[in-house]
Symmetry: C2
Subunit: 253 residues, 2 copies
């Protein structure tokens, strides 16, 4: 009887992967914070009794996950590096590359979450933040003259939502909304989305953003929520005309 036979479904983890896990644990155990220095390559070789190549593969694994950053030169080495929101979005986008998301799916989420964000932001922002949002909303006062301009304006509108998401106190709520804004932006930039410019709906959208900033300024959560809900309903109607579109792209880092 050999109890140590491994499950053939779960392939044997290679040494670099195991070393990466050990390093991760090594960091967690010591509760190292962002910027803390990890042992050097040669120290790792001694610590884990593996060759340089194996250590380097392990480091690349951690680096790909955004957990460490590496610098050359004296005083260089590997350091604990906070995973950036941008990297997290990229890694998550890889997952949805295979998932056949539709625009309807995204708008179902936005309908549920964006009003919540709007309400939670009322009365929480300082003047500079409110002014910045207002400036974003006030760009492109004129209706688009060409499909290209239309595209730009739509990206700008999504930027408004992305900025809003960064201000969220609830980082999970902010991340999910920012993630959706990014997907929609990529779709707008790389694909032709919103082909038929709909001037009237566009104007309503712009109006909504300005109304929202006003409500946030007044600290009126109820109105902020209502305005955003109405905005989402309008945007969704804009989508309804579009075919169900599939996300199918690796998104660059």
């Amino acid at each position: 009887m050999d109890g140590s036979r491994r499950d053939p479904d779960r392939p044997r983890r290679s040494r670099p992967v195991r070393v990466a896990e050990e390093i991760k644990q090594w960091v967690v155990e010591r509760d190292l914070k962002r910027g803390a220095k990890l042992p050097s390559e040669s120290e790792m070789i001694g610590l884990f009794q593996v060759s340089k190549g194996t250590v380097r593969e392990a480091m690349r694994i951690l680096e790909a996950q955004g957990l460490i950053v590496t610098r050359t030169g004296p005083g260089g080495g590997s350091f604990v590096g906070e995973v950036s929101a941008e990297r997290a979005r990229s890694l998550l986008a890889n997952y949805f590359y295979f998932q056949d998301l539709s625009l309807a799916d995204i708008y179902q989420m936005r309908r549920a979450l964006e009003p919540e964000l709007a309400a939670s932001l009322a009365g929480q922002l300082d003047k500079a933040q409110l002014d910045e949002l207002q400036a974003l909303a006030e760009r492109h006062p004129q209706p688009a003259q060409s499909p290209e301009e239309e595209k730009q304006q739509h990206v700008a509108s999504l930027e408004f939502h992305a900025r809003l998401s960064e201000l969220a106190d609830n980082r999970l709520l902010g991340f999910v909304i920012g993630f959706m804004a990014r997907i929609l932006t990529d779709l707008t930039v790389y694909r032709r989305l919103y082909e038929p410019p709909n001037v009237e709906l566009w104007q309503r959208g712009r109006r909504h953003q300005l109304d929202l900033v006003a409500a946030l300024r007044d600290g009126d959560a109820v109105r902020a929520r209502a305005v955003m809900a109405s905005h989402m309903a309008g945007a969704e109607a804009m989508m309804a005309a579009q075919e169900a579109q599939i996300m199918r792209q690796f998104m660059a880092e």
Copy 2:
């Protein structure tokens, strides 16, 4: 004048990282699907004119992101591998390790999303799925006798929500809810969460799950949404007693 000076803020990307990006693009350009074979190590060496070590580091990067899997032996090599939901959750958890999420944040999201999921599932499930959910809800008919048992029951309850999330047609909605269920499960298992067993609230939660399955069976979206909303309100009250808890752990793969 040297126009090719690089920005010192954005460190030079190492060769393995660049090769990984090229391979990724190589795959996207050819629209390779899950299971498609990539060039062998030796072919990569020729293709990108780099050493074996560099190729291997590049492969580890892609592997860490879940984009490829690798097998040894004849017929082995690297293959396009769909990113699993489990891996996506792990990678995202790495991000939130640094983000100071509170239980209040998670429950704000659940309040907004779980009722939406419940409503969208009404009338969409077959008998086997409904029976499975019912079986999950019917576990632990008796109130917990010990803190340990209490913990087990709470994990089981979260399993109900996790299973529900897998059934979602909207993969983004399902993923986010599943992610939260996982975080809460980890917190329950690794930390002492819900220390004071509250029998009454627990019973209400169990009742809600059974009511929800019944509503789903009837295809009654309105009732499903209402039941879930009530369930979330109850669960949140359960949380209110708890201190604001911080997520602070790398979550294992």
